[in-house]
């Protein structure tokens, strides 16, 4: 089972429906024990960084998520990806999981914020999670905070996007994947990414 972690932030249903549509067994869970049992974990999320961290802690999910990050296929989506980093300007007093280095900051410059809509993502390396996709594809984004791309981040950066500046759109390190965009809202290409995650979780079994 793929566990979609419910920690009281945002619409999880669309992520669940997308997996269901793909014929993959996924379930919205809110208990530590269910995260521990899962074969793969998805951390979705929309909303405030500090509130998200507070919710995860008050629900007693911090440790289970940390363990999942260390050992099983893990996918962070949008805020769920940001939480895997050190922190965010949005809530400087709330450190994230610090799996990846870097702190998110508000988009700056003469642009509209939040960044809403379909933006191209350039994948700068190959990965099983982008199998079947072109090196540049469009995905749906909704966010106000971003991590500008630096060459120091190249080792774990899977894809970048441009909105006034180049920022990190997708990350990968070992078993952990993170997307700033919403694959569950990005039509066929987004579904492809979730299907690939399913393959990573369940293995390349025919008709899984």
């Amino acid at each position: 089972m793929i566990a979609i972690v419910d920690y009281g932030m945002g619409n999880l249903m669309s992520v669940e429906k997308a997996f269901t549509y793909l014929g993959l067994n996924a379930k919205i869970v809110s208990k530590e024990s269910e995260i521990k049992k899962a074969k793969g974990v998805v951390l979705p999320g929309v909303g405030n960084f500090g509130q998200a961290i507070a919710n995860i802690k008050s629900r007693g999910l911090w440790q289970a998520i940390k363990e999942a990050l260390a050992e099983k296929p893990f996918l962070g989506i949008c805020l769920g990806m940001q939480l895997l980093f050190e922190g965010s300007e949005e809530s400087p007093e709330s450190p994230g999981f610090s799996m990846f280095p870097g702190k998110f900051t508000l988009f700056k410059g003469d642009i509209k914020v939040p960044h809403i809509g379909w933006n191209s993502v350039r994948f700068i390396k190959n990965s099983p999670i982008t199998s079947g996709l072109d090196s540049e594809e469009f995905f749906y984004f909704v966010h106000s905070y971003r991590l500008p791309f630096l060459s120091a981040y190249a080792p774990f950066t899977l894809g970048v996007s441009e909105y006034h500046e180049v920022f990190i759109a997708a990350v990968e390190y070992k078993n952990v994947f993170g997307f700033q965009f919403h694959p569950e809202k990005s039509g066929k290409k987004g579904l492809k990414v979730l299907e690939n995650f399913g393959r990573i979780v369940y293995g390349n079994i025919c008709g899984y």
């Binding site: 945002g10 619409n11 249903m13 669309s14 429906k17 997308a18 269901t20 549509y21 929309v46 909303g47 509209k112 914020v113 939040p114 960044h115 809403i116 809509g117 379909w118 933006n119 191209s120 469009f138 749906y140 984004f141 909704v142 966010h143 106000s144 441009e162 909105y163 569950e184 809202k185 990005s186 039509g187 066929k188 987004g190 579904l191």
Partner: protein, 254 residues
């Protein structure tokens, strides 16, 4: 590169599409979910459902629409029409919608925008503004265009932004249904006054109109109904046209 969005709008009543839709390829063109899935498939960037169900069953039917759509449609969708309080917003988002569009209720109770944005995030609060030129300024109308408010659309747009709205859905009542093109003057006034995305609505009759709104009106997205529903143009044709004119769009191969 952020692309400009093409958004078909479906008018729904009692879970059926009202205003005819002519797609022979669809089994049931009256089913909003099937039609939305078709638009998703053919390259629409988002879907807006304008629900004009009036019965006391309204909330139940909207929830059913959201649930069914969320199972088959994997692009963002917005529900508008008769949303009156925070509970409505909660129920609709929980049922799977990505955004709600509020109009009259936002004018009557401005705190609804703020409460909605704080509770669910700005990204899901769209404020719909229906505006009509009264000889002096563009005036905001509510109750489906029936009630003038005396408010200036430009100052209202600025206010909704400051209250936390994530997007503005701007409809020109002077142009709506005329097929004469979007009101570019109104669009420019609003897009220059706010720093949140503005969706142009009202008046699209041909592809050039979409181009004008995006290239000259400063719109971030265009909403259209009849030009797509009646099969005058496909979403794909619209995007190809815009792409050739240099407007950044998401092209979808089918």
């Amino acid at each position: 590169m952020l692309t400009k969005r093409i958004i078909p709008c479906l008018d729904v009543k009692d879970n059926r599409v009202v205003k005819g839709v002519e797609f022979l390829s669809l089994r049931d063109a009256g089913d909003p979910v099937e039609l939305a899935a078709f638009y998703d498939e053919t390259g629409a960037d988002e879907i807006v459902f304008l629900d004009i169900t009036a019965s006391f069953q309204k909330r139940k039917t909207v929830v059913e629409l959201c649930r069914r759509t969320a199972q088959k449609v994997f692009i963002p969708f917005t529900i508008g029409g008769g949303i009156s309080d925070i509970e409505d917003i909660k129920v609709i988002l929980r049922a799977g919608a990505d955004k709600v569009s509020i109009n009259s209720a936002a004018v009557r109770d401005k705190s609804l925008i703020k409460k909605g944005a704080l509770t669910f995030g700005s990204q899901c609060i769209v404020v719909a503004i229906d505006a009509k030129f009264n000889g002096n300024f563009y005036e905001v109308y509510i109750d489906g265009g029936k009630t003038p408010t005396g408010m200036d659309a430009v100052s209202w747009a600025k206010e909704v932004e400051s209250l936390g709205a994530g997007e503005i859905l701007l409809t020109s009542m002077d142009r709506d249904g005329t097929k004469r093109g979007y009101d570019l003057e109104l669009l420019r006034l609003i897009t220059r006054s706010v720093n949140i995305p503005v969706i142009a609505s009202g008046g699209a009759g041909c592809l050039e109109h979409l181009y004008e709104a995006l290239a000259f009106g400063g719109a971030d997205a265009v909403l259209a109904a009849s030009i797509f529903h009646y099969g005058f143009y496909t979403i794909r044709e619209a995007k190809k046209y815009l792409d050739e004119k240099g407007v950044p769009v998401r092209l979808v191969e089918i």
